[in-house]
């Protein structure tokens, strides 16, 4: 069973085709990279998978059931979580609260919601739930190495830590598939190396599948087992890192035709 399957995915905004006939299959437990020049449509793919956009045509399957057109919170509850290219933490909440809120859906979905409203108000049988959420949240923070700042306002964290918090938050939703959008943006080489180790570790320890968008080639080549390259919304190359590195089409997309004709 492929954990994620994108079938002929197309996204048009008026006359602009942001994503064109994309086909992608993700194995469970894979570390998969989605790369390409700016504007290639990578984040758009994320937005479609997570339900923020409805694709113009094509279908999406998660663990063999179709999720095309589901609303974003439904998609997350099914087990897909994401981080954002422009960090979108809950600024007024603390680091710990950011991670705790990601667990909220597990107690409040469906018909449970009204019941939990009353429990929250009357505090009947509630405190154990709350302390469990807190413990779990602290665990996630520790895995990402940011538990020391648990009670600080999330907006006060340094940039790199904010990115790690986004990952912790996504994990806390209980997802089995993580979509990471430029997790290494703004990180220096040693932080990036640490991130590679961390992502590998969480994939192993938590049985996750990771699909990430990145521009930092060190991370992509060092971490990803398979890579897909997009340009103008279409797939121009796919395969393991060494194959993609040598693919002429990829080089052309990033560096332009002249680079090739100059005999490179």
């Amino acid at each position: 069973m492929k954990i994620l399957k994108l079938e002929d995915l197309t996204m048009k905004f008026g006359g602009l085709t942001a994503v064109g006939n994309l086909n992608l299959e993700l194995e469970e437990g894979e570390l998969f990279g989605l790369i390409g020049p700016n504007g290639a449509g990578k984040t758009t793919v994320f937005n479609i998978v997570t339900g923020h956009y409805r694709p113009t045509s094509g279908r999406i399957f998660f663990k063999d059931s179709e999720i095309t057109g589901l609303i974003p919170d439904r998609v997350t509850r099914l087990g897909i979580a994401r981080t954002f290219q422009n960090i979108r933490l809950f600024q007024d909440l603390t680091v710990l609260e950011n991670v705790m809120v990601a667990q909220h859906h597990s107690i409040s979905s469906g018909g449970e919601a009204a019941k939990w409203l009353f429990k929250s108000v009357t505090r009947f049988g509630y405190s154990s739930v709350e302390s469990k959420m807190k413990e779990r949240a602290l665990d996630f923070l520790e895995v990402l190495g940011i538990s020391a700042m648990a009670n600080d306002k999330s907006a006060s964290l340094p940039y790199g830590a904010q990115r790690l918090l986004e990952i912790a938050r996504a994990m806390a939703t209980g997802a089995s598939l993580l979509l990471l959008d430029e997790p290494a943006a703004g990180m220096n080489p040693s932080e990036t190396a640490e991130l590679i180790r961390t992502i590998r570790r969480i994939r192993d320890d938590f049985n996750l599948t990771v699909l990430l968008i990145e521009h930092d080639m060190k991370l992509v080549m060092g971490l990803c087992e398979r890579i897909m390259v997009l340009d103008y919304g279409r797939t121009i190359s796919e395969g393991d890192p060494s194959h993609v590195q040598k693919d002429k089409k990829v080089i052309e997309a990033y560096l332009g035709k002249e680079w090739i004709t100059l005999g490179n």
Partner: protein
């Protein structure tokens, strides 16, 4: 309803609708540029009426002079409201701007209560000659409160004809202003993208101020025409017409001037039709506009001529 009454109601609705249209244009222009619902717009309409009233009664100015000054006063007031209350919070979240707009609205209303007193006044005798000096079109002319033109048994109050004509002139003027002048182009640019427009060297604040002034002037015109037709003048007179004009603007597609006019006309016609068809429901005529609002916002929030927003993540 027999065809003659139907047609009469249609005509009445058209004239009421054009009043709504004049006010709706101001709402839509400001929203198009600032994404702000200027709650105070209806109150500027009210202020213009008071200006005209006191210019005639206290300053003994002739009606045409008073009207022009009142409209200019409305424009200046609109401009000032933006400068004083909205400009300082341009960068604040939109909710803050909305709350502030409500505050300004109440401020103007309570100011009117304090300065002009809350006692309703009558606009009836303010512009009498105005109506007498009109050209008489074919058909009988009956003298009642307002002069009317009766064509084929259907009454066209002079004031209605004037309102329609003025609305048409306003539309033409606006079209010329927005599409044929530099400032108009600046306004269009600001409504699309403020930061880039200011980088292009446009004084965005001035453009926004002019937009307010223009919209407020139209509201002033609408106010005076309204007061001639419904002569009761009191500090809260702007609330309901303002809300209805807003509904009209949303109905037509907020941000679109032709949409605002279309929305205003349709709203006026349907309101009169509703009262005509269901006389027992006359007390609910104001609620009718709100119902329309809820329905539009639920079914097609972008209105008749508006474009839906796509949110980028």
């Amino acid at each position: 309803m027999d065809p003659k009454t139907l047609l009469q109601n249609f005509v009445n609705g058209l004239s009421l609708g054009s009043l709504y249209a004049l006010i709706a244009i101001g709402y839509t222009m400001v929203y198009g540029i600032l994404r702000l619902i200027n709650f105070a717009h209806g109150d500027i309409f009210m202020m213009a009426v008071y200006f005209a009233f006191f210019l005639v009664t206290l300053a003994s100015l002739p009606w045409y002079f008073a009207a022009i000054l009142a409209i200019a006063g409305a424009a200046i007031l609109g401009f000032s409201v933006d400068r004083v209350a909205y400009k300082p919070i341009r960068k604040a979240p939109r909710i803050s701007a909305l709350i502030t707009a409500i505050g300004v609205s109440f401020f103007l209303e309570s100011l009117a209560v304090v300065v002009f007193s809350g006692i309703p006044r009558s606009f009836r005798t303010i512009f009498p000659q105005f109506l007498n000096e009109m050209i008489i079109l074919g058909g009988q002319v009956e003298t009642r409160y307002g002069r009317e033109v009766i064509v084929g048994g259907i009454r066209f109050p002079i004031i209605s004809i004037i309102t329609l004509v003025i609305t048409a002139i306003a539309l033409v003027f606006l079209w010329w202003f927005i599409y044929r002048t530099k400032i108009g182009m600046a306004m269009r640019a600001v409504s699309v993208d403020i930061p880039t427009t200011s980088l292009m060297g446009v004084n965005v604040d001035r453009v926004i101020g002019i937009t307010f002034a223009l919209g407020s002037a139209l509201a002033g015109i609408g106010g005076i025409l309204w007061a001639i037709r419904y002569p009761q003048v009191w500090p809260y007179m702007g609330f309901i017409p303002g809300m209805k004009a807003f509904v009209a603007a949303v109905f037509g597609g907020i941000g679109s001037i032709p949409g605002a006019v279309l929305g205003g006309l349709i709203l006026g016609i349907t309101e009169i039709m509703m009262v005509g068809l269901l006389p027992g429901a006359a007390g609910y005529r104001d609620a009718f506009a709100f119902f329309i609002l809820i329905i539009i916002l639920s079914v097609k929030p972008s209105g008749l001529m508006g474009k839906p927003d796509i949110v980028k993540v």
